[in-house]
Subunit: 269 residues, 2 copies
Amino acid sequence: LNFQFFDFRTDTQNNNQTNIDLDRGYLFGDGFFTTAIIQDGKINHQPLHQQRLNDSSIKLKFSGFKPEQLFEYIDDKIKTISNACVRITVSRAQQMRGYAFSGNEKINVCIQLFSLIEQPKSFCELFFADTPISNNPFLAGIKHLNRLDNVFAAKEIKKINQESLMCIDDLVICGSRTNLFIKQGGVWLTPKLDKAGINGITRLRLIKLMREQDINIRLRDISKQQVIDCDAALVTNSLLGIWSVCRIGDKPLATKLSENLKYQLNIKR
Amino acid sequence: LNFQFFDFRTDTQNNNQTNIDLDRGYLFGDGFFTTAIIQDGKINHQPLHQQRLNDSSIKLKFSGFKPEQLFEYIDDKIKTISNACVRITVSRAQQMRGYAFSGNEKINVCIQLFSLIEQPKSFCELFFADTPISNNPFLAGIKHLNRLDNVFAAKEIKKINQESLMCIDDLVICGSRTNLFIKQGGVWLTPKLDKAGINGITRLRLIKLMREQDINIRLRDISKQQVIDCDAALVTNSLLGIWSVCRIGDKPLATKLSENLKYQLNIKR
């Protein structure tokens, strides 16, 4: 065990509260993040990542958050980097004891660079995770820091080409680190994300491109049986791009329709 | 904005991954905690807090967690402290990128001392929070670090003697920082916590004492209307002890029955 010890008790001489300089991201998961690819000194799809961070800051009441200042800082840091992954985490400093926040807290930004991960060489095998996804309509869609459900759904994955599907009872929401699209009767469907899940950047791009190209795409409630019975499936995120599904549980699935869509849209991660 | 920048890219010369020494408590809320009172150099109800931390470590697969080592460290740190609050947070270090963990991660323990908060002088006014509680049967009961729902339910509180009630649709689960007990037709009821909520130390103590003294106490699904119609109510946590409720929304509530129970059980925080 690696110990840290802080004494924040009031200085009774001056009756001043010691500044509680711990991060609420750590204490409560009070913050949000995005993960992107850096190529040739720039963040891929930067306006979408900036929009996501700004939307998250509004929803979670980070009133002092300045996305322009953030990207000015990052742009300078990454201008000589040819390729990498980046995670940008935004959280609040702790100002007082307890769950509530004042809204005047200092905002902490943590930027982590990682080596660029390769796109998977084999197709994706899906299975239904035992770990349920947390159902909370207020938090649904946001890439916030409360991700224990993703942690345990991802922990269920045993092979590099697997992804686990997270559900609320019979309702399928997303993969442990991806969004889900299935094709059924000539129509593409993707879960609505009104109860849980993250509204991914690649999901947004895919929906926009499909609508522009008059490909039928609908946001729907999707049951486990609908996933099992689908004609094609793919999962998406900013690091993987589009990943075609070749198996759902015990059942093999043809990748022709999902690969066709991928080439038709010519979507790069 | 307060920036931190980390470059974890692989050293391409040696093909070694740089050690990713960030905390998963911060990255994902991957950890758990407890909050207790210190009196005369000792943690009140220490065995129950130790049991909670141990149970959480098992549920969240912190296989290297050693509660004895933790309390040996703390006991030494607090032996001269006459009174304080303490928060003990246990989290995993990050070993690899992404949600999944290996199980071999270093375990971080953060101990924070605060000045002892006074027990409230006035009775508690309850209202139903607009913020829903996150519904996840796997995580229910555990005092884990994914507490954004508590953060926003607590943020709805405008007065020092208020507590907000967190619900799943019509089902009442708990207060933003407390457990709930209501009395109805001579029987005390408390929510089951099989979908959400924290199984509080004071809740456990109360249930045990009531059973020992043959006071009728049942763990049940409780609706909003049942709370509104109750004959008495109280909320509990380790810092507040038992807090009698004098109002639910617009409706005043007599505190006689809850205060009677408090004195009968002679429960101290």
